[in-house]
Symmetry: C2
Subunit: 365 residues, 2 copies
Amino acid sequence: MKVICTRQNLVQGVTTAQRAVSAKNTMPVLAGILITARDHYLEFQATDMEMGIQCTVPCTVQEAGSIVLPAKYLGEIVRRLPDAPIQIETGQGTNVVIRYGQSEISINGFHDEEFPVFPKQQGKTSITIPEEDLKEYLRQILFATSTEETRPVFTGVLMELSEGNLRLVATDTHRLALRDVKINTEISDVSMIIPGKTLNELARVIGAADQEVTISLAENTVIFGMEDTVLVSRLIEGQFPNYRQVIPQSYKTRIRVKTKELLESVERASLLARVGTQIIRLHIEQDKIIITANTEVGRIHEEIAVYLQGEPMQIAFNANYLIDALRACGSDNIYLDLSGPLSPGILRPVEGEDYLSLILPMRTI
Amino acid sequence: MKVICTRQNLVQGVTTAQRAVSAKNTMPVLAGILITARDHYLEFQATDMEMGIQCTVPCTVQEAGSIVLPAKYLGEIVRRLPDAPIQIETGQGTNVVIRYGQSEISINGFHDEEFPVFPKQQGKTSITIPEEDLKEYLRQILFATSTEETRPVFTGVLMELSEGNLRLVATDTHRLALRDVKINTEISDVSMIIPGKTLNELARVIGAADQEVTISLAENTVIFGMEDTVLVSRLIEGQFPNYRQVIPQSYKTRIRVKTKELLESVERASLLARVGTQIIRLHIEQDKIIITANTEVGRIHEEIAVYLQGEPMQIAFNANYLIDALRACGSDNIYLDLSGPLSPGILRPVEGEDYLSLILPMRTI
């Protein structure tokens, strides 16, 4: 293999593929990135056997071929290379020489045949979504996933396709986030659970304006196709909880409040609540909401103007859950709907019915 | 105590004083900031018994008085307060109420009489330096201090005053940095060792354009006076090593090189050297310097154009020490002066004789 590539393209390829390299892999070769030169491009591939990323960048190929290089060193090196044409050439055995100006770095890699094959199958069913939109939807959903590996379905995001609607749902059993997206597709009755980790990495890769992501489903696998990058991930097996029955269909109390005002109040209250149980209390009255917390450090009493529909209400939440939900809602004004001190609270943007997040209340004495 | 203050002034006072609060203090009250209201200002004081900071900000005093509040909570709270007039009022016992808009926070503090007295003595001798300049001098010196508490003098910076010259010297025995500053003073034969920790905090506090720092010396104490802030620190007792005899007065080899080019090459070499001993080798030839490192990960060979005076030379350095010295030199072009493979290397800015840093070489087999 012998290629000439710009620093910028090298950094792009290595940085993107590197996201699939796990620190705790079992096979030494998985600490590497498979680099393949063919036609007029360089292809970077990495995988932790759960998720794989492939990124393709243009380059001048003088000799086709491939090699596996250690991701950590390669990443640090390419980011520090000068902005000059960079030549990469395989030498003796698994040795690779990177040349720039009058200088060169030689590092040792692995044989490419040791590297697992990237799952290339095309999905049968596929939909497309603008990258910027999907990035925002993921931000609104991913905070509600669990990080506890003991119950895998809660670490994933349910993706349901039915009748022109894509639905994303995540829950860690204490809170839940749900996003509906109108899409132009004939596909229906498709349901899968995608690992939250995969979607976190996807959210970091996407975001370009005027670009689209193609989401395809193959057997036990989901494939996200971007312009230069493909991300493949296993699905999580198991039954996602019946989230529909958790979401109340009515409310006794609805307040409309400025998201930023409520968020800042709850953030202050959480500073004091932090030393205790993270409990903050909401007292909803005719034209205001009173937020209080009371711990050994001190106590806080905040008042915010609200529009109330329905009855006054008192409820207690975990401050961090409320902060996460308020940050995720993506709207200047929200409704908070309550049905009772022991029923879940629901946050909805004032505009549209496409998003909601739900938080279970805390019991207080 | 009862005052009304802006958020900005509160944040300024708390953030500045907080720098003197140690996480590992022995007296509970030292986790606090003493707040005193008098005349038309609020005074914030904190100390870890080695260093003390006092910061004064304007406010409306409705009732003079003082209280000690926990620094950590106070800092987090004031930074999150809204941009509105904020009232602080002491209540029952050590309770304090912070009011803003329709909201309030009440936190528990300590009695002010438990707080140690801030050393107010004025120094006998004093000099003044522009804040921006001193900040840069400190940046050029502090990297060479040691963090090993077992040998206190090496954790400090020697400050010598003699005949219109201020000299700052630091060394951790592997490297040394020295800065001379012309100042307008009659003071001579003053020498003190200031804790590096103190100067690190000073460097964070200063930097305002058109402001000066007054440095005064009292018994075992140095006092840095800024516009609104006073920083007081104990001195380190002991004998600073005779640094003069370490600095070679001549050289066999001098190269002139672009600082940025050499820095970037050494940074790349250090990526590979990191897995080993951090040794990088410099081969100085007629018109170039070759930087190499060789470890189990791979090897690097970098070439940079230089102007050579004197003889070709080979020498090995710890890559990190060379990186620190190149970042600190504050000049686009530097001289590197060498006297032999086992003699220290000296870096000097091409402009001026006021600064140098010295690095001991590494023995290689």
